[in-house]
Symmetry: C2
Subunit: 352 residues, 2 copies
């Protein structure tokens, strides 16, 4: 009577007092005061009325900031919903899609849910992308850039080659972390009709709590997503989220200040982790993916959790030795590094 | 490259100044002040953090108000999302489901989207439910009570018979309008493990703009919905919607005051419509479904729109002569009735 599926497991969302939460790549800084003000104004107006099903105002604001047209932009309830709609709109049973073997763990969940066959392309030993292996897919390609949970960034010209070598099939570039990396592929949207860029307001825009994600692509791809949305839920983005997201996009100063703060904390933390005996993968995201010489990932996760610090450990092939640490504020990272030092020194005392 | 689907067409959402909007069954009254206050408090806390994926607090509040447990309650982004998840969780290709021929026009859209075959059971000539024809479905049943767009209510004992006569298949009762009707089937949830009740905060709770819907059912059905949600979008209800919806449920006085106001306006408007030459179906909802002796539905819709009043007309078999009018405030309904009289008298002058 009830279908079985294997759901995606998100990072823990504990609301415990005093917890330092470095496990789900949220922004440690609150959104711009203008976001709060926009929500404040919107909530006094017509909460009893449905929101705009076409979300024109927010789509216009996003489009302008990327020098695109509203017709190239789709918005949804977080980038996860946008990705789910994209799987429904662009991938189909019988035609295997490609994604990396180490990547966002929601992709195989969507694929199974919608009966899309897939092949996982093995990343190189250093977790870099074997670009040519994504050419000539049968059913399309999806990959994050920067990749998660590794944080590795692939240059734009390589992404472009993948798009070029998949004519007639959709290539989805999931840019959840792109604002912490060199260059978005959004500039390619007007050149290639088979490229869909997915971004989120949950990371660099400090709005994980509001659930807004968006996609950019050719008019035909955006129409495809819109048809699925309108066959599923006409109004997935509520009035307050529409207003808050628009204000967040408009305050580019707050955005660049908070992003730069995170980048500078990241660059400060990486050598400190190395000096504690960690290998640190090159990160173009708001997190670092690291492996210790002697302590395994699960132990580190558990010992940090006992000290009220949450990080993410994935019990998956090739990465179970690693932990993923979201970049928090300088103060949070200092506490984290202090606790980590204590864990490591007590471990080396007990097991010399 | 892009899949074709036939989307659901929602009522127009125009934000035009001075428009009287009686077309999408929204509540004419704003939500409780305590809703605004709850959102106000929530938005100052952690908008940069993901909301609770399990929405425990809101589920507890809803459960208490129906004397159920949290494990019997699921919440989602509007009842449309909840319905979409239910189609995915409980219905399957190869086993036709049943729903009425005149009903919520999103059902066939979901069925096509998820490749669920369906049979439309012809309602009786007076649009009442031929109850026995919903017995022994192959794949399950979905029907709204009260039905939309007719507004007709079916007694609880008849709903119970349909549930009993579909053992092992899920019966979904879509109670979007139940708060304007005699009795919810929620009390049957603990007796029948195959009954799912879907409700919304968009109508009687004045929160269409926030996108919150919910379902009540056996633990096993709620687990089934949760697995689909977690395979699609871990956090579909944002922080502000969670907080606002909880406050709305807690203010039962505001809820009963606004609901009673709508019911009393409905009962006042019905005889006035009859005296203007309309047949009015018995309504247990916050709308009336009416047909005029001489003017057809489309003409009435167009002429009212020209006078800045939006109502809903469905160009569908059996109901194209009808119009559906949401019950607004007394003042809005007076304006509506005045304009309607003018349209009817000018029509009878021009075409005597």
């Amino acid at each position: 009577m009830v279908k079985r599926t294997d759901p995606y497991i998100p990072g823990e969302q504990l609301e415990q007092e005093g917890l330092i939460k470095l496990n789900t790549n949220e922004n440690p800084y609150p959104p711009s005061p203008s976001v709060i003000q926009a929500i404040q104004e919107e909530m006094k107006r017509n909460l009893q009325r449905y929101p705009s099903p076409s979300a024109d105002e927010l789509r216009n604001t996003i489009a302008e900031s990327f020098s695109l047209s509203k017709k190239n932009v789709f918005v949804g309830n977080g980038s996860d919903e946008v990705l789910a709609f994209a799987f429904m709109a662009f991938f189909e049973p019988g035609k295997p899609i490609l994604f990396p073997d180490v990547t966002y763990s929601f992709y195989p969940v969507y694929a199974k849910l919608f009966h899309i066959p897939y092949e996982q392309v093995r990343l190189n030993d250093d977790f870099s992308l074997p670009v040519e292996q994504f050419f000539q897919s049968a059913g399309g390609v999806i990959l994050p850039n920067p990749n998660a949970p590794t944080g590795l960034y692939e240059e734009l010209d390589q992404i472009e080659r993948i798009v070029q070598e998949n004519k007639g099939r959709v290539v989805i570039i999931d840019e959840a972390y792109i604002d912490f990396a060199p260059t978005s592929a959004a500039r390619l949207v007007q050149t290639y009709d088979n490229l869909l860029i997915v971004q989120t307001m949950s990371k660099s825009r400090s709005l994980a709590g509001l659930r807004v994600g968006f996609a950019m692509g050719s008019e035909s791809l955006i129409e495809g997503l819109t048809r699925i949305k309108d066959s599923f839920n006409s109004y997935p983005v509520d009035r307050l989220a529409l207003a808050g997201a628009k204000a967040a996009f408009e305050d580019s100063e707050h955005f660049s200040n908070t992003t730069n703060a995170i980048l500078s904390t990241r660059e400060r933390v990486i050598p400190q982790l190395r000096s504690l005996g960690f290998s640190v993968l090159p990160s173009a995201a708001n997190f670092v993916f690291v492996k210790h010489d002697s302590l395994d990932g699960r132990t580190l996760y558990e010992q940090l959790k006992a000290r009220k610090i949450l990080i993410r450990h994935f019990d998956s092939p090739r990465i179970s030795d690693f932990i993923r640490i979201t970049i928090g504020t300088n103060e949070q990272m200092d506490t984290f590094l202090d606790e980590l030092s204590l864990i490591l020194s007590s471990a080396s005392t007990v097991h010399p």
